[in-house]
Amino acid sequence: MTEKTRLATVWLGGCSGCHMSFLDMDEFLFDLADRVDVVYSPLADIKEFPDGVDLTLVEGAVANDDNLELARLLRARSTTVVSFGDCAVTGNVTAMRNPLGDPQAILRRVYVDKVDRDGAIPDDRPVVPALLPRVLPLHQVIDVDVYLPGCPPPAARIRDAVVGILDGTLPRERGEGIRFG
Protein backbone atom coordinates (compact mmCIF):
# COMPACT_ATOMS: atom_id res chain seq x y z
CA MET A 1 0.00 0.00 0.00
CA THR A 2 1.27 3.42 -0.95
CA GLU A 3 1.80 6.10 1.63
CA LYS A 4 -1.17 8.33 2.35
CA THR A 5 -1.36 11.82 0.97
CA ARG A 6 -0.80 14.51 3.58
CA LEU A 7 -3.82 16.83 3.29
CA ALA A 8 -4.28 20.22 4.92
CA THR A 9 -7.26 22.53 4.84
CA VAL A 10 -6.89 26.15 5.82
CA TRP A 11 -9.43 28.76 6.80
CA LEU A 12 -8.47 32.35 6.02
CA GLY A 13 -10.91 35.23 5.55
CA GLY A 14 -14.08 33.31 4.78
CA CYS A 15 -17.29 32.11 6.39
CA SER A 16 -16.25 28.43 6.75
CA GLY A 17 -19.00 27.57 4.28
CA CYS A 18 -16.45 25.86 2.03
CA HIS A 19 -15.46 23.63 4.93
CA MET A 20 -19.12 22.89 5.58
CA SER A 21 -19.46 21.91 1.95
CA PHE A 22 -16.37 19.74 2.36
CA LEU A 23 -18.15 17.92 5.19
CA ASP A 24 -21.17 17.60 2.90
CA MET A 25 -19.19 15.04 0.94
CA ASP A 26 -20.73 12.71 3.55
CA GLU A 27 -19.80 9.05 3.08
CA PHE A 28 -17.14 9.93 0.55
CA LEU A 29 -15.21 11.26 3.52
CA PHE A 30 -14.66 7.63 4.54
CA ASP A 31 -13.20 6.82 1.14
CA LEU A 32 -11.08 9.93 1.36
CA ALA A 33 -9.85 8.99 4.81
CA ASP A 34 -8.40 5.82 3.27
CA ARG A 35 -6.25 7.93 0.98
CA VAL A 36 -5.29 11.00 3.02
CA ASP A 37 -4.06 11.98 6.44
CA VAL A 38 -5.45 15.31 7.56
CA VAL A 39 -2.34 16.98 8.97
CA TYR A 40 -3.76 20.47 9.49
CA SER A 41 -7.30 21.79 9.45
CA PRO A 42 -9.81 23.89 11.39
CA LEU A 43 -11.59 20.55 11.70
CA ALA A 44 -8.67 19.13 13.64
CA ASP A 45 -6.85 20.48 16.67
CA ILE A 46 -3.38 21.09 15.23
CA LYS A 47 -1.66 24.35 16.15
CA GLU A 48 1.21 24.58 13.69
CA PHE A 49 1.05 24.18 9.93
CA PRO A 50 3.37 21.22 9.39
CA ASP A 51 6.17 20.62 6.92
CA GLY A 52 5.86 18.36 3.93
CA VAL A 53 2.18 18.77 3.08
CA ASP A 54 1.15 17.28 -0.27
CA LEU A 55 -2.16 19.01 -0.79
CA THR A 56 -3.59 22.11 0.86
CA LEU A 57 -7.10 23.45 0.35
CA VAL A 58 -7.28 27.13 1.27
CA GLU A 59 -10.66 28.63 2.04
CA GLY A 60 -11.02 32.39 2.34
CA ALA A 61 -9.41 35.55 1.09
CA VAL A 62 -6.31 37.19 2.49
CA ALA A 63 -7.80 39.86 4.71
CA ASN A 64 -5.40 40.45 7.59
CA ASP A 65 -1.76 40.01 8.49
CA ASP A 66 -2.43 36.66 10.10
CA ASN A 67 -3.92 35.39 6.81
CA LEU A 68 -0.91 36.74 4.96
CA GLU A 69 1.59 35.03 7.23
CA LEU A 70 -0.22 31.70 7.11
CA ALA A 71 -0.61 31.90 3.33
CA ARG A 72 3.13 32.32 2.88
CA LEU A 73 3.89 29.57 5.35
CA LEU A 74 1.51 27.05 3.79
CA ARG A 75 2.88 27.80 0.35
CA ALA A 76 6.40 27.10 1.51
CA ARG A 77 5.33 23.82 3.09
CA SER A 78 2.87 22.49 0.49
CA THR A 79 3.37 20.80 -2.86
CA THR A 80 -0.06 21.62 -4.29
CA VAL A 81 -2.12 24.59 -3.18
CA VAL A 82 -5.80 24.82 -4.08
CA SER A 83 -7.74 28.08 -3.96
CA PHE A 84 -10.81 26.61 -2.33
CA GLY A 85 -14.02 28.56 -2.91
CA ASP A 86 -14.85 32.02 -4.21
CA CYS A 87 -13.30 33.99 -1.35
CA ALA A 88 -9.90 32.45 -2.00
CA VAL A 89 -10.33 32.68 -5.77
CA THR A 90 -11.87 36.15 -6.14
CA GLY A 91 -12.00 37.82 -2.72
CA ASN A 92 -15.80 37.48 -2.94
CA VAL A 93 -17.84 38.67 0.02
CA THR A 94 -14.75 39.13 2.15
CA ALA A 95 -13.45 41.67 -0.37
CA MET A 96 -16.66 43.67 -0.45
CA ARG A 97 -15.08 46.09 1.98
CA ASN A 98 -12.44 47.03 -0.62
CA PRO A 99 -14.46 49.73 -2.40
CA LEU A 100 -14.88 51.51 0.93
CA GLY A 101 -11.12 52.04 1.19
CA ASP A 102 -9.22 52.50 4.43
CA PRO A 103 -10.09 49.66 6.84
CA GLN A 104 -9.54 51.92 9.85
CA ALA A 105 -12.48 54.03 8.75
CA ILE A 106 -14.62 50.92 8.48
CA LEU A 107 -13.53 49.69 11.91
CA ARG A 108 -14.27 53.08 13.39
CA ARG A 109 -17.73 53.08 11.86
CA VAL A 110 -18.49 49.60 13.16
CA TYR A 111 -16.85 49.70 16.59
CA VAL A 112 -17.06 53.37 17.53
CA ASP A 113 -19.60 55.39 15.58
CA LYS A 114 -22.35 52.79 15.67
CA VAL A 115 -21.83 51.85 19.29
CA ASP A 116 -23.95 53.49 21.99
CA ARG A 117 -21.06 54.18 24.35
CA ASP A 118 -17.47 53.28 25.11
CA GLY A 119 -16.78 52.11 21.61
CA ALA A 120 -13.20 51.25 20.76
CA ILE A 121 -11.45 49.64 17.84
CA PRO A 122 -10.16 46.26 18.99
CA ASP A 123 -6.41 46.34 18.53
CA ASP A 124 -5.07 43.85 21.04
CA ARG A 125 -2.19 42.50 18.96
CA PRO A 126 -1.44 39.77 18.21
CA VAL A 127 -4.76 38.38 19.45
CA VAL A 128 -6.62 40.58 16.98
CA PRO A 129 -4.73 40.66 13.70
CA ALA A 130 -4.46 43.94 11.78
CA LEU A 131 -6.54 44.26 8.64
CA LEU A 132 -4.70 44.61 5.34
CA PRO A 133 -5.49 47.75 3.35
CA ARG A 134 -7.22 45.59 0.77
CA VAL A 135 -8.58 42.08 0.83
CA LEU A 136 -6.77 40.00 -1.79
CA PRO A 137 -7.50 36.75 -3.53
CA LEU A 138 -5.01 34.06 -2.55
CA HIS A 139 -3.19 33.98 -5.88
CA GLN A 140 -2.20 37.62 -5.55
CA VAL A 141 -0.23 36.71 -2.48
CA ILE A 142 1.16 33.24 -3.25
CA ASP A 143 1.32 30.93 -6.25
CA VAL A 144 -1.79 28.81 -6.58
CA ASP A 145 -1.88 25.50 -8.46
CA VAL A 146 -5.59 24.70 -8.76
CA TYR A 147 -8.67 26.93 -8.59
CA LEU A 148 -11.86 25.53 -7.17
CA PRO A 149 -14.50 28.29 -7.35
CA GLY A 150 -18.00 28.25 -5.92
CA CYS A 151 -19.71 29.84 -2.96
CA PRO A 152 -19.42 27.32 -1.61
CA PRO A 153 -18.19 24.80 -4.16
CA PRO A 154 -20.81 22.01 -4.12
CA ALA A 155 -19.66 18.84 -2.42
CA ALA A 156 -19.63 16.90 -5.68
CA ARG A 157 -17.38 19.53 -7.25
CA ILE A 158 -14.97 19.34 -4.31
CA ARG A 159 -14.90 15.57 -4.57
CA ASP A 160 -14.20 15.65 -8.30
CA ALA A 161 -11.41 18.14 -7.84
CA VAL A 162 -9.77 16.36 -4.90
CA VAL A 163 -9.99 12.97 -6.58
CA GLY A 164 -8.69 14.49 -9.79
CA ILE A 165 -5.71 15.96 -7.99
CA LEU A 166 -5.00 12.77 -6.06
CA ASP A 167 -5.21 10.67 -9.21
CA GLY A 168 -3.46 13.24 -11.35
CA THR A 169 -6.44 13.27 -13.70
CA LEU A 170 -7.87 16.73 -13.07
CA PRO A 171 -8.95 17.84 -16.55
CA ARG A 172 -7.96 21.24 -17.93
CA GLU A 173 -11.49 21.83 -19.14
CA ARG A 174 -13.72 21.56 -16.11
CA GLY A 175 -16.96 22.94 -17.56
CA GLU A 176 -19.43 23.90 -14.86
CA GLY A 177 -16.86 22.92 -12.26
CA ILE A 178 -15.46 26.45 -12.34
CA ARG A 179 -18.66 28.50 -12.07
CA PHE A 180 -18.43 31.32 -9.57
CA GLY A 181 -21.19 31.88 -7.06
Binding site: G91, P137, I178
Partner: protein, 258 residues
Protein backbone atom coordinates in the same frame (compact mmCIF):
# COMPACT_ATOMS: atom_id res chain seq x y z
CA UNK B 1 -44.25 39.88 -48.20
CA UNK B 2 -40.75 39.11 -47.00
CA UNK B 3 -38.16 39.90 -49.64
CA UNK B 4 -36.03 37.14 -51.07
CA UNK B 5 -32.49 37.42 -49.76
CA UNK B 6 -29.48 36.47 -51.79
CA UNK B 7 -27.46 33.58 -50.45
CA UNK B 8 -23.76 33.84 -49.84
CA UNK B 9 -21.66 30.73 -49.30
CA UNK B 10 -19.30 30.99 -46.37
CA UNK B 11 -17.41 28.53 -44.22
CA UNK B 12 -17.55 28.64 -40.45
CA UNK B 13 -15.29 26.20 -38.63
CA UNK B 14 -15.09 23.96 -41.71
CA UNK B 15 -18.88 23.88 -42.08
CA UNK B 16 -20.20 25.37 -45.31
CA UNK B 17 -23.33 27.41 -44.79
CA UNK B 18 -25.55 29.60 -46.92
CA UNK B 19 -25.57 32.98 -45.26
CA UNK B 20 -27.76 35.87 -46.41
CA UNK B 21 -26.38 38.95 -48.02
CA UNK B 22 -26.25 41.78 -45.52
CA UNK B 23 -26.11 39.41 -42.60
CA UNK B 24 -23.35 39.46 -40.00
CA UNK B 25 -21.17 36.46 -39.29
CA UNK B 26 -22.85 36.17 -35.89
CA UNK B 27 -26.37 36.14 -37.34
CA UNK B 28 -25.45 33.57 -39.96
CA UNK B 29 -23.70 31.36 -37.42
CA UNK B 30 -26.65 31.44 -35.04
CA UNK B 31 -29.12 30.55 -37.75
CA UNK B 32 -27.09 27.41 -38.33
CA UNK B 33 -26.70 26.63 -34.67
CA UNK B 34 -23.02 27.54 -34.50
CA UNK B 35 -22.34 29.13 -31.14
CA UNK B 36 -20.29 32.29 -30.98
CA UNK B 37 -20.25 33.84 -27.53
CA UNK B 38 -21.31 37.50 -27.30
CA UNK B 39 -22.21 40.08 -24.68
CA UNK B 40 -23.17 43.49 -26.02
CA UNK B 41 -24.96 42.13 -29.09
CA UNK B 42 -28.70 41.75 -28.72
CA UNK B 43 -30.87 40.70 -31.59
CA UNK B 44 -33.30 43.46 -32.43
CA UNK B 45 -31.01 46.29 -31.36
CA UNK B 46 -28.41 48.22 -33.33
CA UNK B 47 -24.95 46.70 -33.37
CA UNK B 48 -22.59 48.21 -30.80
CA UNK B 49 -19.55 45.99 -31.38
CA UNK B 50 -17.81 46.89 -28.16
CA UNK B 51 -17.49 43.88 -25.85
CA UNK B 52 -15.18 42.09 -28.29
CA UNK B 53 -16.19 38.70 -26.89
CA UNK B 54 -17.54 37.62 -30.29
CA UNK B 55 -14.23 38.14 -32.10
CA UNK B 56 -13.56 35.53 -34.77
CA UNK B 57 -10.72 34.91 -37.18
CA UNK B 58 -11.38 35.62 -40.83
CA UNK B 59 -8.98 34.06 -43.32
CA UNK B 60 -6.72 36.67 -44.85
CA UNK B 61 -7.13 39.15 -42.02
CA UNK B 62 -4.51 39.58 -39.37
CA UNK B 63 -6.74 41.10 -36.70
CA UNK B 64 -9.65 39.14 -35.26
CA UNK B 65 -12.98 40.68 -36.28
CA UNK B 66 -16.15 41.14 -34.21
CA UNK B 67 -18.64 38.61 -35.58
CA UNK B 68 -21.59 40.85 -34.69
CA UNK B 69 -20.37 43.71 -36.86
CA UNK B 70 -18.66 41.95 -39.73
CA UNK B 71 -20.88 41.28 -42.70
CA UNK B 72 -20.56 38.03 -44.59
CA UNK B 73 -18.70 38.08 -47.87
CA UNK B 74 -18.74 35.37 -50.53
CA UNK B 75 -16.27 32.54 -49.77
CA UNK B 76 -15.40 33.97 -46.38
CA UNK B 77 -13.63 31.49 -44.13
CA UNK B 78 -14.32 32.00 -40.46
CA UNK B 79 -12.90 30.30 -37.40
CA UNK B 80 -14.76 30.89 -34.18
CA UNK B 81 -12.86 28.98 -31.55
CA UNK B 82 -9.11 28.87 -32.13
CA UNK B 83 -6.70 28.74 -29.20
CA UNK B 84 -5.88 32.41 -29.79
CA UNK B 85 -9.54 33.43 -29.68
CA UNK B 86 -10.21 31.36 -26.58
CA UNK B 87 -7.29 32.98 -24.84
CA UNK B 88 -8.31 36.49 -25.93
CA UNK B 89 -11.90 35.93 -24.80
CA UNK B 90 -10.76 34.66 -21.45
CA UNK B 91 -8.52 37.69 -20.99
CA UNK B 92 -11.33 40.09 -21.93
CA UNK B 93 -13.64 38.38 -19.45
CA UNK B 94 -10.97 38.67 -16.77
CA UNK B 95 -10.78 42.39 -17.55
CA UNK B 96 -14.54 42.71 -17.07
CA UNK B 97 -14.52 40.79 -13.79
CA UNK B 98 -11.63 42.90 -12.49
CA UNK B 99 -13.26 46.16 -13.59
CA UNK B 100 -16.50 46.10 -11.60
CA UNK B 101 -17.56 44.40 -8.39
CA UNK B 102 -18.95 41.13 -9.62
CA UNK B 103 -19.73 39.08 -6.55
CA UNK B 104 -21.69 36.18 -7.99
CA UNK B 105 -22.45 34.72 -4.59
CA UNK B 106 -24.62 37.64 -3.58
CA UNK B 107 -25.98 38.57 -7.00
CA UNK B 108 -29.61 38.53 -8.05
CA UNK B 109 -28.50 37.07 -11.36
CA UNK B 110 -26.42 34.24 -9.96
CA UNK B 111 -27.19 31.29 -12.21
CA UNK B 112 -28.87 33.54 -14.76
CA UNK B 113 -26.06 35.79 -15.90
CA UNK B 114 -24.48 36.05 -19.30
CA UNK B 115 -21.17 37.26 -17.86
CA UNK B 116 -21.02 34.30 -15.50
CA UNK B 117 -21.96 31.90 -18.31
CA UNK B 118 -19.33 33.32 -20.68
CA UNK B 119 -16.69 32.90 -17.99
CA UNK B 120 -17.61 29.25 -17.53
CA UNK B 121 -17.52 28.65 -21.29
CA UNK B 122 -14.17 30.38 -21.56
CA UNK B 123 -12.69 28.27 -18.78
CA UNK B 124 -11.96 31.33 -16.66
CA UNK B 125 -11.36 29.87 -13.23
CA UNK B 126 -9.64 32.93 -11.79
CA UNK B 127 -8.72 36.51 -12.68
CA UNK B 128 -5.05 37.31 -13.07
CA UNK B 129 -5.49 41.07 -12.88
CA UNK B 130 -5.86 43.19 -9.78
CA UNK B 131 -9.47 43.80 -8.88
CA UNK B 132 -10.24 47.47 -9.22
CA UNK B 133 -12.98 47.46 -6.59
CA UNK B 134 -14.54 50.78 -7.59
CA UNK B 135 -16.98 52.45 -5.22
CA UNK B 136 -20.31 52.54 -7.03
CA UNK B 137 -23.44 53.35 -5.04
CA UNK B 138 -26.55 51.36 -5.85
CA UNK B 139 -29.60 53.27 -7.13
CA UNK B 140 -32.73 51.73 -5.60
CA UNK B 141 -34.89 54.84 -5.87
CA UNK B 142 -37.13 53.54 -8.64
CA UNK B 143 -40.32 52.04 -7.23
CA UNK B 144 -40.09 49.04 -9.50
CA UNK B 145 -36.45 48.47 -10.42
CA UNK B 146 -32.94 48.68 -9.03
CA UNK B 147 -29.74 49.68 -10.79
CA UNK B 148 -26.57 48.23 -9.32
CA UNK B 149 -23.66 49.73 -11.25
CA UNK B 150 -21.24 47.36 -9.52
CA UNK B 151 -22.46 44.68 -11.90
CA UNK B 152 -22.67 46.87 -15.00
CA UNK B 153 -20.36 46.09 -17.91
CA UNK B 154 -21.44 49.15 -19.99
CA UNK B 155 -22.70 46.96 -22.83
CA UNK B 156 -25.34 49.68 -23.49
CA UNK B 157 -28.10 47.20 -24.23
CA UNK B 158 -30.34 49.15 -21.84
CA UNK B 159 -29.40 52.43 -23.53
CA UNK B 160 -30.21 51.04 -26.94
CA UNK B 161 -33.41 49.25 -26.01
CA UNK B 162 -34.71 52.35 -24.23
CA UNK B 163 -33.85 54.57 -27.18
CA UNK B 164 -34.53 52.30 -30.13
CA UNK B 165 -37.44 50.14 -28.98
CA UNK B 166 -39.19 52.05 -26.19
CA UNK B 167 -38.27 55.47 -27.58
CA UNK B 168 -37.76 57.06 -24.17
CA UNK B 169 -33.95 57.47 -24.13
CA UNK B 170 -33.84 57.59 -20.36
CA UNK B 171 -30.41 55.99 -20.25
CA UNK B 172 -27.12 57.08 -21.69
CA UNK B 173 -23.42 56.67 -20.99
CA UNK B 174 -21.69 59.51 -19.17
CA UNK B 175 -17.97 60.22 -18.74
CA UNK B 176 -15.49 58.16 -20.66
CA UNK B 177 -12.78 55.55 -20.47
CA UNK B 178 -12.77 53.55 -17.27
CA UNK B 179 -15.07 56.13 -15.71
CA UNK B 180 -17.78 55.58 -18.28
CA UNK B 181 -21.01 54.78 -16.48
CA UNK B 182 -24.73 54.73 -17.08
CA UNK B 183 -26.93 57.63 -16.17
CA UNK B 184 -30.62 58.34 -16.26
CA UNK B 185 -31.46 61.82 -17.52
CA UNK B 186 -29.06 64.29 -15.90
CA UNK B 187 -27.64 61.76 -13.51
CA UNK B 188 -30.30 62.18 -10.84
CA UNK B 189 -31.66 59.07 -9.11
CA UNK B 190 -33.62 56.85 -11.46
CA UNK B 191 -36.71 57.20 -9.29
CA UNK B 192 -36.78 60.91 -10.03
CA UNK B 193 -36.60 60.42 -13.77
CA UNK B 194 -39.69 61.75 -15.48
CA UNK B 195 -39.00 60.09 -18.82
CA UNK B 196 -38.92 56.48 -17.59
CA UNK B 197 -42.04 54.65 -18.71
CA UNK B 198 -41.58 51.75 -16.32
CA UNK B 199 -41.65 49.41 -19.31
CA UNK B 200 -38.91 47.16 -17.93
CA UNK B 201 -37.22 46.50 -21.26
CA UNK B 202 -33.88 47.59 -19.85
CA UNK B 203 -34.22 45.04 -17.07
CA UNK B 204 -35.22 42.35 -19.55
CA UNK B 205 -32.21 43.15 -21.74
CA UNK B 206 -29.54 43.40 -19.06
CA UNK B 207 -27.01 40.57 -19.37
CA UNK B 208 -25.95 40.74 -15.72
CA UNK B 209 -27.48 41.63 -12.41
CA UNK B 210 -27.03 45.35 -12.92
CA UNK B 211 -30.73 45.92 -13.55
CA UNK B 212 -33.34 43.96 -11.65
CA UNK B 213 -36.75 44.11 -9.99
CA UNK B 214 -37.10 45.51 -6.52
CA UNK B 215 -37.34 42.72 -4.01
CA UNK B 216 -35.29 40.19 -5.95
CA UNK B 217 -33.05 38.07 -3.77
CA UNK B 218 -29.89 36.20 -4.77
CA UNK B 219 -30.42 34.20 -7.92
CA UNK B 220 -34.00 35.39 -8.37
CA UNK B 221 -33.54 37.80 -11.22
CA UNK B 222 -34.83 36.63 -14.56
CA UNK B 223 -33.91 38.37 -17.76
CA UNK B 224 -35.65 37.97 -21.08
CA UNK B 225 -33.10 38.99 -23.67
CA UNK B 226 -35.20 37.53 -26.49
CA UNK B 227 -38.03 39.94 -25.68
CA UNK B 228 -36.49 42.57 -27.92
CA UNK B 229 -36.17 40.29 -30.92
CA UNK B 230 -39.78 39.15 -30.48
CA UNK B 231 -41.01 42.72 -30.22
CA UNK B 232 -39.11 43.78 -33.32
CA UNK B 233 -40.41 40.80 -35.27
CA UNK B 234 -43.95 41.43 -34.08
CA UNK B 235 -43.85 45.05 -35.16
CA UNK B 236 -42.33 44.19 -38.51
CA UNK B 237 -44.40 41.16 -39.44
CA UNK B 238 -47.54 41.97 -37.45
CA UNK B 239 -47.42 38.53 -35.93
CA UNK B 240 -47.73 38.35 -32.20
CA UNK B 241 -46.70 35.20 -30.43
CA UNK B 242 -47.55 34.73 -26.80
CA UNK B 243 -44.32 34.74 -24.82
CA UNK B 244 -43.15 31.32 -23.84
CA UNK B 245 -42.59 32.52 -20.30
CA UNK B 246 -43.27 35.78 -18.57
CA UNK B 247 -40.65 38.14 -19.93
CA UNK B 248 -40.73 40.66 -17.15
CA UNK B 249 -41.76 39.98 -13.64
CA UNK B 250 -39.61 37.50 -11.75
CA UNK B 251 -42.04 37.63 -8.88
CA UNK B 252 -44.55 35.60 -10.80
CA UNK B 253 -41.88 32.99 -11.27
CA UNK B 254 -40.87 32.66 -7.70
CA UNK B 255 -42.81 29.45 -7.42
CA UNK B 256 -40.73 27.87 -10.14
CA UNK B 257 -38.53 25.08 -9.02
CA UNK B 258 -35.16 26.40 -9.92
Amino acid sequence: MPEVRRSIAITIDDTEIDAYEGESILQAARRFGIKIPSMCYLEGLSVWGACRICVVEVAGQHQPRPACATLVVEDMEVRTNTARLQSHRRTILELLFAEGNHVCAVCVSNGNCELQDRAVEAGMDHVRFDYRNPLRPVDATHPKYVFDPNRCIVCTRCVRVCDEIEGAHVWDVASRGHQAHLVTELGQPWGRSSSCTWCGKCVASCPTGALFYQGSAVGESVHAPDLVARLVAARRDHEWFPPVESPTSPNEQNGDDR
